[in-house]
C-alpha cells in the first residue's frame, strides 16, 4: 500500500492541471467530478495508507519515498522525496478528509459561480501543495509547498476578483505571509550554512550533535523559522491578514483559513521540535506568542459583528492555543487540538456559509436572528461546533483537546500557574463568550430576514459528518482521571521529544478541569445574559462612551492594522512616490543637461557674423603670441 503514497499529492495536482487547461470547456458536472473526485481519491488513498500504517507500522516509524532528484550540487542536494510518519499522516488525514468534505460542499455552494472550474482548480492545487508541505522530507520541498499554499490562498481570497476590496485583502494576505516566508527562507539559509543539508531527519540529527543547547545559532535559526510560522499561522505580530482573508468564498475560509493552511506554522514547529528543544528561550517565546495571540484574538472576536470575522479571530485564537501547547512542549496536545479544531472550525465555517447564503449575503449577525427554526439542521450542527469550540465539558472534542493543552500549561517545566491562569481561565471564558454570542444572536430571537436558498444534500452531508467528528473526535484521547484512553498519544507521541514531566492524574488535574469547565459554562451563561435575555445588559452597556470606545478598539483588531498602515504601507507608498521621478536617473540626466547648456552657450558664439569668427582667430593669435612672450 505504501507504493501509492506519491499518488496522494499527485491526484489533486492532476485535477488542477485538468481543470486549468480544459476546465473552461467542461460542463459544470464534469468539472465538479474532477475537482471533488481527485481530492476524494486522495482521501481514499490516505485512508488506505493509514490503515496499513496502523496494521503494519513501517520500519523506523516512517514511510520514505524519493521520487526524483531536484537539485544536486556538491554542497547541497535535495530531491522530491516524501517521508510519512505519524505526524504527517495525521495532517494528511485531516487535509484530505476535511478537504474532501469541503470540496463536496463547494460543489453545491459555488454552483452558481461563473468560474466554477477555476475555483476547483485552485482548491485542488491548494490541497496538493498542502500535502507536499506536510509530506516533504526536506525543507526545500516543504518551502515549495509552503509558498504554494500561500499562492493558492491569495487566489482564493481574491477569487471574486471583480471587487477591488477583495483584491486588496488578497494582496495583504500574500504580502504579510511573504514577510514571514522570507524570514523562514533565511532560517533555511542559516541551517544550510551550518549543516549543508536540508533533509529534515539528517538536519535534526546533525543539529542535536553539533549545536549546544541554548547557544546563539539555534536561537537565531529557530527564531527565523518562528517568523515563518507566525506569518502563515496568523500569530502575533503578523496576524492582521487573516480577518481580511474572509473576503474569499466561505469554503475557502473553512479549508484554508481554518482547517489546514493556517496550521502550517504549527506543523513546522512540531516537525522541527528537536531543533526547538535546542533553543529553550525561543520555545518559551512560542508559548508567549501563542498566549498573547489567543487572548488578543479572543478579545477582538467579542466585538466583531461579521459572522465570518468572528470565526476568523476565533481561528487565530485557537491556533494561539496550539502554539501554547507547542511552547510548553506538549506537541501531541497541540496536534490533537489541531485535528479537533479542523473538524469544528470547518464545521462552523460551512454552517456560517449556509447561514450567509440563506440570508442573502448578509454577514452582520445583528441583522440576522431566529434562524433556529428556519434552518434547523444548520442550527444543530452550528451549536455542536460552537460547543466544541467553547470546550463544553465532557461531551465535546474541544474539551478534551483544550484540557490537554491547559494541563501542559500548568504542569510542564516551562509552564506554570500564570500561564494556566491567563491562557486557561481567561481564554476559555472569552472563547465560550464569543462563540455563544454568535449562536444566540444568529439563531435565537426574531427572524429579521426571510431565508432564501436552503442547502441541499451536498451541503448538509459534510455538516453532519463534521458535527459527528467534532463530538466523537475527542474520545480517542481522554485524560486518565476520567477514562484511560490514549490512542492519539500512543499513535503520534513517538515523533516528538518526550514532554517534560508528563505524569498525569492526581487531585490537581481534577481541580483544574473543574475550574476550566466552570469558566466555559460561565461564558455561555454570560453570553446568554448579555445577548439573549430580551433587552439585555448589552443594550444598556451600549450607551456608555467608554464601552463604545473599547468596542471600537476591539473591533479594529486592537489597532494593529492602523499601526502597520502608518508604519509600513504609507512609508512604502511615500518612497515609491518620491522615487517615481527617478531621482537617481535624474542625476545621470543632469550630466546630459549640463552638456546641453554648455553647447547652447557655445552655440551663441556662432553668431553667423564672419567678423566674430575673425575676432576669435585674432584672440587665439594674441593668446599664442602672449604665451610665447610669457613663457
Amino acid at each position: 500500500m505504501y507504493a501509492i503514497v506519491w499518488l496522494i499529492p499527485a491526484l489533486p495536482l492532476a485535477g488542477f492541471l485538468l481543470l486549468v487547461f480544459l476546465g473552461r470547456r467542461m460542463p459544470r458536472a464534469v468539472a465538479a467530478v474532477v475537482g471533488v473526485g481527485s481530492v476524494g481519491l486522495a482521501a481514499l488513498a490516505t485512508v488506505l495508507v493509514g490503515a496499513s500504517f496502523l496494521s503494519a507500522p513501517p520500519a523506523g516509524g516512517a514511510i520514505e519515498e524519493r521520487l526524483f532528484g531536484w537539485v544536486s550540487l556538491p554542497s547541497l542536494s535535495f530531491a522530491f522525496g516524501f517521508r510519512v510518519d505519524a505526524l504527517t499522516l495525521t495532517m494528511m488525514a485531516v487535509i484530505t478528509i476535511v478537504g474532501f468534505l469541503i470540496h463536496l460542499y463547494s460543489s453545491e455552494f459555488m454552483s452558481r459561480d461563473g468560474e466554477f472550474w477555476l475555483f476547483f482548480a485552485y482548491m485542488n492545487l491548494f490541497v496538493s501543495s498542502m500535502l507536499v508541505l506536510v509530506m516533504a522530507d526536506n525543507l526545500a520541498l516543504l518551502y515549495l509547498g509552503w509558498e504554494g499554499v500561500g499562492l493558492c490562498s491569495y487566489f482564493l481570497i481574491g477569487f471574486w476578483y471583480r471587487e477591488p476590496e477583495y483584491c486588496v485583502a488578497a494582496r495583504k494576505a500574500f504580502i504579510v505571509t511573504r514577510i514571514g516566508d522570507v524570514s523562514m527562507l533565511l532560517g533555511l539559509a542559516l541551517l544550510v550554512s551550518s549543516f549543508a543539508t536540508l533533509d529534515i531527519q539528517e538536519l535534526l540529527r546533525r543539529a542535536a550533535a553539533g549545536w549546544a543547547p541554548g547557544s546563539a545559532l539555534p536561537v537565531v535559526a529557530t527564531l527565523l523559522l518562528l517568523g515563518g510560522a507566525v506569518g502563515k499561522s496568523a500569530q502575533l505580530p503578523l496576524q492582521v491578514w487573516l480577518p481580511d482573508a474572509m473576503a474569499g468564498p466561505t469554503p475557502v475560509s473553512a479549508l484554508i483559513h481554518a482547517a489546514t493552511m493556517v496550521t502550517a506554522g504549527v506543523y513546522l514547529i512540531a516537525r522541527l521540535s528537536a531543533l526547538y528543544a535546542l533553543a529553550p528561550a525561543v520555545q518559551s517565546l512560542v508559548a508567549i506568542v501563542g498566549l498573547a495571540t489567543l487572548l488578543l484574538a479572543g478579545l477582538a472576536a467579542i466585538a466583531q459583528v461579521d459572522l465570518k470575522r468572528i470565526l476568523a479571530y476565533s481561528t487565530i485564537s485557537q491556533i494561539g492555543y496550539m502554539f501554547l501547547g507547542l511552547g510548553v512542549g506538549f506537541y501531541s496536545a497541540a496536534m490533537f487540538h489541531f485535528m479537533v479544531h479542523a473538524f469544528f472550525k470547518a464545521l462552523l465555517f460551512l454552517a456560517a456559509g449556509v447561514v450567509i447564503m440563506a440570508q442573502g449575503e448578509e454577514h452582520n449577525i445583528f441583522r440576522m436572528g431566529g434562524l433556529r427554526t428556519a434552518l434547523p439542521a444548520v442550527f444543530w450542527t452550528f451549536l455542536i461546533g460552537a460547543s466544541s469550540l467553547a470546550a463544553l465539558p465532557l461531551v465535546t472534542a474541544g474539551f478534551y483537546s483544550k484540557e490537554w493543552i491547559l494541563w501542559g500549561a500548568w504542569q510542564a517545566g516551562r509552564g506554570g500557574p500564570l500561564l494556566w491562569l491567563l491562557g486557561g481561565c481567561l481564554g476559555v471564558l472569552l472563547t465560550s463568550l464569543y462563540s455563544f454570542r454568535a449562536v444566540f444572536v444568529t439563531f435565537f430571537g426574531d427572524q429579521k430576514i426571510r431565508e432564501s436558498h436552503l442547502p441541499g444534500a451536498r451541503m448538509k452531508i459534510p455538516l453532519v459528518i463534521l458535527a459527528a467528528l467534532s463530538i466523537l473526535g475527542g474520545f480517542i484521547q481522554i485524560p486518565s482521571d476520567i477514562a484511560p484512553v490514549s490512542l492519539f498519544e500512543s499513535f503520534i507521541g513517538g515523533v516528538f521529544p518526550k514532554a517534560p514531566g508528563a505524569a498525569e492524574g492526581g487531585s490537581t488535574q481534577i481541580l483544574l478541569q473543574v475550574v476550566a469547565s466552570a469558566l466555559s459554562l460561565i461564558g455561555v451563561l454570560a453570553a446568554y445574559v448579555l445577548y439573549r435575555r430580551g433587552v439585555g445588559a448589552h443594550e444598556r452597556l451600549a450607551d456608555s462612551d467608554a464601552y463604545r470606545g473599547v468596542r471600537r478598539f476591539l473591533f479594529s483588531g486592537l489597532g494593529f492594522d492602523w499601526v502597520y498602515k502608518w508604519a509600513f504601507v504609507k512609508t512604502f507608498d511615500c518612497a515609491a512616490k518620491l522615487l517615481k521621478g527617478e531621482v537617481v536617473g535624474r542625476a545621470a540626466d543632469a550630466i546630459g543637461s549640463a552638456n546641453a547648456a554648455i553647447g547652447r552657450a557655445l552655440g551663441a558664439l556662432q553668431s553667423g557674423r564672419i567678423r566674430w569668427y575673425l575676432v576669435g582667430i585674432a584672440l587665439g593669435a594674441v593668446a599664442a603670441v602672449g604665451a610665447a612672450v610669457w613663457l
Binding site: V71, R162, I175, V182, L185, V192, A576, K580, G585
Partner: protein, 491 residues
C-alpha cells in the same frame, strides 16, 4: 568549427533576409527563422551528444575550441570556445531569437529586410560575447550588439525613441570605452611583464600586477558590465530604452543583453581579477541590493506596463549581481539559473505585454482592469508570468532566488537579509500588476480577441520552460558546474 557555425548561422539568416527584402514578406522571416532553428538544433545536439571535456585549457574544459590567427602582429586571434556556460546561454539566446521572430511574424513594418538583419546582428553579437575568449574579439562583439540595437530603437521605436536610443547608446558606448581602456592596459601590462603580447583570455589569466592595478582594471570591466546589466545607479538608460524600443528589441534587451553583462563578469572579471573581485564584493553587494530594492519600489510606482516590467528586470538582475559576487557554489549556480530563467520569463512577460498593447492600443495600467474574463488565455499567461516574477514555487526564479539567498547567506548573512527583502517587494509589484490589469472590474467595453491557438501555444511553451527550469534544473547545473567550480579557487 561548431562555435563558428553557431555564431554565423544567424548572421547568414539576417543577410539573406536583407537581400530578399524585396522578394516578399515571407522570405524575410523564413530565412532567419530557419537558420535559428538549425542553430538551436546544433546546440542541442552538442549538449546531448557532445563531450564537455573534449578540449582543455588549464583548468577549463570545453565542448569545442576554435583558434584562427587574425592579426598575429598584435596577438589578436579568433578564439571561440563552447563550454557548458556558453552553451546554456547560447541556447537561451537562440531560443529568444526564435521567439522574437515568431512574435513579429504578423507585424508589418517598413524596411523589413533591414529590420530582421538588425535583429540577427544583435543575436550574433550576443552569441559572440558568449563564445569569444579573445578580449579583442569580445570587445568587438560587445560593441556589435550596440549599433543594431540602436538602429532598432531609433528606426522602429515609439514616440520618444530618439532620446531613448541616444541615451542607451551613450551609456553603453561610454562604459564600453572604459572597458576597452582596461583591456588595453591589461594587454600592455601582460606584454610588458612576459614579452608575449596577446589578447587571449587564457594567456592573460594570472598576469602579475599589483593589487591596486588589478582593482582599477577590474573597475574598468565592471563599468561596462554594471551599465549593461544594469545595476542601480547606472540604470537610467534602461526604462526609456525598454519602453521606446519596438517589442522585438525590448525582448532582446531584457532577455539577452543584460545576460551578456552577467556572463562577462563570470567569464572575465572573476578569472582575471579574482582577488580584486573579492575586495570589490561588498560594493557589488550594495549595488545589487540597491538594484533589487530600488527596482522593485519603482516597478510598483509605474503605471506603464512595459516600464513596470523593465524595473522588475532591474530588481531581478540585482539578485544575479549579489549571487555572482557571493562566490559560493550555491549562489553562483543560483545566479546562472536566474539568468536563464529570467531571460525566458521576462522575454515572455514582454511578449504578453506586447500582445496586450496590440489589443488595447495602450499599455497604461490605470486604464486596464478586468481583462481576465475577456481574454482568459492572455490573462492566464500574464498572471502565470507575473507570478514567476514574484518567484512562484516551482518556477526557475523560485529555485534560483532560494539558492542565491542561501548561498549569499554563507558569504554574508547581512546582505542575504537585505537581498531577501526583494522577495517581499516583488510580491508587491507583481500582485499590483496582476490586479490592475487582469482583476477588478472590466475597464474595457466590447470584446477583445484572445490569443490564437498558436500564440497561446508559444506562451505556454515559454511558461513550461520556466517551470521545467524550476522543477528540473539539474541539466543546467551539470552543464555549468565545471566552469563555476573553477571560479571559486581563484584560478
Amino acid at each position: 568549427m561548431i562555435p563558428a557555425i553557431v555564431l554565423l548561422a544567424p548572421l547568414l539568416g539576417g543577410v539573406l533576409a536583407w537581400i530578399s527584402g524585396r522578394a516578399g514578406r515571407l522570405w524575410v522571416r523564413i530565412w532567419p527563422l530557419a537558420l535559428l532553428v538549425l542553430d538551436f538544433a546544433a546546440l542541442l545536439a552538442v549538449w546531448i551528444g557532445g563531450n564537455p571535456d573534449a578540449f582543455h585549457e588549464g583548468a577549463y574544459s570545453f565542448y569545442a575550441d576554435l583558434i584562427v590567427p587574425w592579426i598575429p602582429q598584435i596577438g589578436v586571434s579568433v578564439h571561440l570556445v563552447l563550454d557548458g556556460l556558453s552553451l546554456v546561454l547560447s541556447l537561451l539566446a537562440v531560443f529568444i531569437g526564435i521567439v522574437v521572430i515568431l512574435v513579429s511574424w504578423k507585424r508589418e513594418r517598413d524596411h523589413e529586410g533591414f529590420f530582421y538583419f538588425n535583429i540577427t546582428l544583435v543575436l550574433s553579437g550576443v552569441l559572440g560575447t558568449f563564445l569569444a575568449v579573445d578580449l579583442f574579439l569580445f570587445f568587438l562583439f560587445w560593441e556589435l550588439m550596440l549599433v543594431p540595437t540602436y538602429f532598432l530603437i531609433v528606426g522602429w521605436g515609439g514616440e520618444r525613441r530618439a532620446p531613448a536610443g541616444f541615451k542607451f547608446f551613450l551609456f553603453t558606448q561610454l562604459s564600453g570605452l572604459v572597458m576597452l581602456l582596461a583591456i588595453l592596459a591589461l594587454y600592455f601590462i601582460h606584454g610588458g611583464s612576459s614579452g608575449v603580447y596577446t589578447f587571449d583570455l587564457f594567456g592573460l589569466i594570472g598576469t602579475p600586477m599589483s593589487s591596486r592595478t588589478s582593482f582599477l582594471l577590474m573597475l574598468g570591466f565592471m563599468a561596462a558590465f554594471a551599465v549593461k546589466l544594469p545595476a542601480v545607479p547606472f540604470h537610467s538608460w534602461l526604462p526609456d530604452a525598454y519602453v521606446e524600443a519596438p517589442l522585438e528589441a525590448t525582448i532582446l534587451l531584457a532577455a539577452l543583453l543584460s545576460k551578456s553583462a552577467a556572463y562577462g563578469i563570470l567569464r572575465f572579471v572573476l578569472p582575471l581579477f579574482h582577488d580584486a573581485a573579492l575586495a570589490f564584493a561588498p560594493v557589488a553587494y550594495v549595488l545589487g541590493v540597491l538594484s533589487v530594492v530600488y527596482g522593485a519600489v519603482l516597478a510598483f510606482a509605474q503605471t506603464d506596463l512595459k516600464r513596470l516590467i523593465a524595473y522588475s528586470s532591474v530588481s531581478h538582475l540585482g539578485f544575479v549581481l549579489v549571487g555572482i559576487f557571493a562566490l559560493s557554489p550555491l549562489a553562483l549556480q543560483g545566479s546562472v539559473l536566474q539568468m536563464v530563467s529570467h531571460g525566458v520569463a521576462t522575454g515572455a512577460l514582454f511578449v504578453v505585454a506586447g500582445f496586450m498593447e496590440r489589443r488595447l492600443g495602450h499599455r497604461d495600467l490605470s486604464r486596464m482592469g478586468g481583462l481576465f474574463p475577456l481574454v482568459p488565455r492572455l490573462a492566464g499567461a500574464g498572471v502565470a508570468l507575473a507570478l514567476v516574477a514574484l518567484g512562484v514555487p516551482g518556477s526557475g526564479n523560485f529555485i534560483a532566488e532560494v539558492l542565491i539567498v542561501i548561498g549569499t547567506f554563507q558569504a554574508s548573512p547581512l546582505f542575504a537579509v537585505l537581498v531577501s527583502s526583494g522577495l517581499v517587494f516583488s510580491v508587491v509589484y507583481a500582485l499590483w500588476m496582476i490586479q490592475r490589469a487582469f482583476h477588478g472590474r472590466a475597464a474595457v467595453s466590447g470584446s477583445l480577441r484572445d490569443l490564437s491557438a498558436l500564440e497561446a501555444a508559444g506562451a505556454l511553451v515559454m511558461i513550461l520552460v520556466v517551470f521545467w527550469l524550476g522543477l528540473h534544473p539539474q541539466p543546467v547545473f551539470d552543464a555549468t558546474s565545471r566552469f563555476l567550480q573553477t571560479l571559486q579557487g581563484g584560478a
